[in-house]
Structures are given as structure tokens and as C-alpha cells.
Amino acid sequence: MSTVIDAHNISKIYNKENIPVYAINNVHLHINQGEFTALVGPSGSGKTTLLNLIGGLDKPDEGKIEINGIDITAMSPNKLIDFRLRNIGFVFQSFNLIPVLTARENVEFIMQLQGINKTEREARIQTLFRQIGLEDKMDSRPSQLSGGQQQRVAVARALASKPQFVLADEPTANLDTASASNLLDIMALLNKEENITFIFSTHDARVIERARRVITLVDGRITSDTAKVDTHVQH
């Protein structure tokens, strides 16, 4: 399996009243293609910060992050935007669909930004909506969809750009049990069938249970890294 994400001794430091506080402290992390990984830990442990660093939304103060061998920490903000567009899918806790666009348009928007032609876009939209089981809701606005449906559209949006991996920040936090379960089924299926790499930050036991690798963060450090199938790394 090829390495998709390679984070070398990264740290993120915030200054609180001139005292450095490590949100991420010397973390070393490899994620391989096709992994289904959960980042777990108590609130404030650095899960979201780590996802933001891996996603190129923030830069580490120390260390570097390579995506498919490309150092994203050295990229300019403009290059990073384009890199995110073509390589990283995002699913947010509160869905964050663009409210003025329909479900279909939300998904299509990303492909338009990528410059994909209309025929290809249409074909991918059909496939993605079939995979998330919302073919009949394509023309609904986010306000007309339930939380679970919105998050499924968010997953479709994240996958629209055929990313190297998908980062999902507490994707089930705002969902009821049935919706969360349904969402996890879809993501697990996509992971299994299309070998899409998923990395979640979560508190949700249901997500942790379904993950094949669980990384635990405490105070910005990885305290355990457990692979359910063939690897188990203890820090």
C-alpha cells in the first residue's frame, strides 16, 4: 500500500499570554491508501487541529507534511488552495453545504472549479448520488434536506473531485443514530469498493467501532495507534 499522508514530527504551537501551548506536539504519522482511520481523543486533544494541518488549512510550526510525496507545508496559500481542490475532500461537522445551491449543484460546484467538462460532471453526479442513495433529492436545497441527507451530500461533494483522501471532522456529531449509521455504511462501502482513504476525527463510538485504524490523541500527542487488521503501533 502506498503512503498518502506522511507527517514528520509536526507541532502546532499557540501562544497564550506568552506561554507556548502545544496543540499538536511532535506528531509523526503515516496514512496509507485505502485506510479507514479514526482520530479519537478528548475535547482539546488536537484532533481537529491535526485534521486541519493534514488538510492544508493550517500550517505546522514545526515539521513537515507530505501528501503523495509533495511537501504541502512549503506551498504558498494560492497553490495550497489548488492542491486542496484536486487532492483533498472535506466533510464538516455541520455539513456546510452552500445553502443557495441545490444538492446537485453543491456537488457539481467542486467539479466546475476543477474544470471538468459537463458530460463528465453529469456522469459523476449520477454515480455519486446513486452511491449516497439520494437520486431523488438532487434538486433539493440543503434547507429541504435532513441533517443525515445533508451530510451524505457533503460526502458526495468531498468525493466529487476524486481526492487522494477525505478528511471528516466529527461527521456524525450532528446526526441521529439511524442517519449516522447510514452515513457510515456509505463511507465504509466507498472505502471498500473504491479504496478511498477516510480519516475521521470523532468522539462517536459507532465511528470508532467501524474504523480499521484508531489513532488516539491526548494533549496534542499520539498516545496510541491501533490497526484492527494487521498493524498495531503503540507510542
Partner: protein
Amino acid sequence: MIFRIAWRNIWRNKIRSLVILLSVAIGLFAGIAVLALYKGMMNSRVRTVIYSETGHIQLHHKTFKNDYEARFVISNPEKLLQELRKNESVKQVATRTITQGMLATTTGSAGVQINGIDPAMENKVSGLLQKIRVGSGFEPGKKNQVLIGKKLADKMKLKPSSKLVLTFTDADGNIISAAFRVAAIYQSENTPMDERNVYVQQTELNPILNLGNGIHEIALILKQDTATHTVAKQLQQKYPDLLVEPWQNLSPETELMIDTVDITSYIIIGIILFALAFGIVNTMLMAILERTQEIGVMMALGMNRIRLFLLVFLETIFLTLIGTPIGLGIAWIVTSYYHRNGLNLESMGKEMMSNFGFSTLVYPEFPTEKLLGIMGIVLFTALASCIYPALKALRLRPIEALRK
């Protein structure tokens, strides 16, 4: 898609957007109304200049206008008049004998320009007889009659049949005085002209001036206003010994006024839209502030700064441009109505307006020829208004915006 997002975004807060749209519409209407009024006033002023004062073109002896000396007459006037009447561009011709002099009555005196006219010809060029307010004009069989302006009549306390003395210099440099009786009092739309000009019959003035059949001025009315410069140029080439001047040279203050008003009009529109720009900036800033997280999401997903700027720019353009046709439409309807029916500005000060040579009944005209310029100013306003909100959006860091 950005186009679609921008369009839908402006309708997210309908009331706020409608307020801005209406502000733009009303601002534009106000600006165009001022422009239309100015244009109507200027057109009216130009028509007054041409059809009551100067005609389209005047011809004089080359040196006559230096000192208005009576001896500098146009030679061979009959032949010249014949040729001018045959000119296809010329509609009407009037000849004038002109001298500067003093009008005296028992109550006082005033400096005047004495115009010797052929009443029939003059009426066709300047409509002088239609301007008579008191009295009946030149009466056949009566000698030494004079038409004076109302302002002068009021100042000198003159009425029809009042006696006055005109003193001036003849062609040989002798000072001559002649008694006249007021035949009628006229009133034009140009009070200063009324105060300065008196009219006597050319057939009576010429012998006194010792001019024979000499004349000082030929005023022409052309068939088309637009032909003025071309015809003036042609006539100047044909009659190099004469001074041929279009109305713009004869009334340079009117030409200057038109130019000034043109510039002023754009400044007024600019000021109105500048004030509106603050409203647009405020609306766009509120929109950006409300959508900080959404913008953060877009940036996180891969929307670059150019596209983000385009989004903010398009929203501003839509806000501004939707109001534009509404404003133009209202302006067109209102100006068309008043263009047909006239707008009476008498209550604003009849005397003040006529002192500047303006009629109080104005026919505003939609400034079609300025639409391109207006649209340019509107687009510039939209562009200028979007810069600050767009910069605010561009400065957002996705990581911080997502936390909002």
C-alpha cells in the same frame, strides 16, 4: 456556477437587497432627472439664442465688431442677400443696421444698441413681433417709432407713445440725436438683451446714419441646426472679406454654459453614486460578515482568490445593475411626460431665470447620448464598492473562517 451563486446570494436577504436596489434606482433617477432638466434648459437656451437673438449665423464687415463704427457696412448687400436666399441650407434672412448710442428721457438715460430692422424680415428670423407685450408694433404711416424691451421700459418709466431721444454717431462721425416714440414694449426670455436692445425701422435709421442702403449685419436661420458650422465655413470661404460667425461664436457664454453643464451633470451623477457606494459597501460587508463560515468552506474546498473576488464583484454588480434599469425606466417615464407637457419653473424665480436668458417653461429631455457615460459611472461605482468587501473576504483564512 459562481454567477448563479452570486445571483442567489443577493436574494438571501431580500429586504436588504431591495433597499439597495431602490437606492440605486432612486439615485439614478434623481441624477438623470437633473441631467434631463439641464439638457432641456440648455436646448431651450440654444433655441432662444438662435431663434430670438443671433440666428444660426451672422455676417458682418470684417472690422465692424471691433468698435461698432457705422461706416463699416457690408458692401453690395442686395447681391449678397440674393445669393444667400438662393443657398439651399438657408431658411430665413434678416438685415440689421446697428449703432451704439444713448437713450434719454425726462427721467434719465441709458446706453443701448439701436437696431435698424426690416420688421417683416426680422420677425421671420427672431420672432420680434411675437414678443410684443404692450402696444401694437410699427404702425404704417407713423414716423420715428421704436420698440423697447420691458426691462428698459420699466427702468426708464416708458409706455407706448412715450417720447424718447436716441443719440448716436453717424457714418461720418457726427453725433446725431433723434426723437422717437415708443410703438410697443417687447419681452423676450433674455432680460439683459431686452434692457440693451431697441429696434427702429431700418428705412428711418439708415438716412439718419447717412448709410444709404448699407447694412451692418445679416442674420441667417438655417434649415438644419446641425448644418451651422458647415454652412458658416462655406460662407466664410465664399466671402473672405466678411466676418462669418456661427451662433457659438456670437454667444460664447451659451457654448461655455453647455460645456460646463455637461461636466457638472457627470459630477452630479458621480456624487449621487458616490453616496450610494457607501450603502453598497455596507450591504456587501454585512453579507460577507454573515457568510464568513460559508466563504471559509468555499476556500477550504478549493475556491481560489480570483473566483472569490469575482463572486463578491458579481454580487455587487447585480445589486447595482438591477437598480439601474429601474432608475432609467422611471427617469425615462418622468422625463418623457415633462418633455411633452413642459415643466413650469416660474415658482423658482422667473426673473432670475430670464436674467440668465432661460425660459421658465422647460422641456426636460432624456439624456440618451449620456447613457454610455452614466453606465460607465455605475459600473465604476460597483467596482469601487466591491473592492473593500472583496478584500475583507480575501483576507479571511479558511481555518479562521470555518471557526466562526
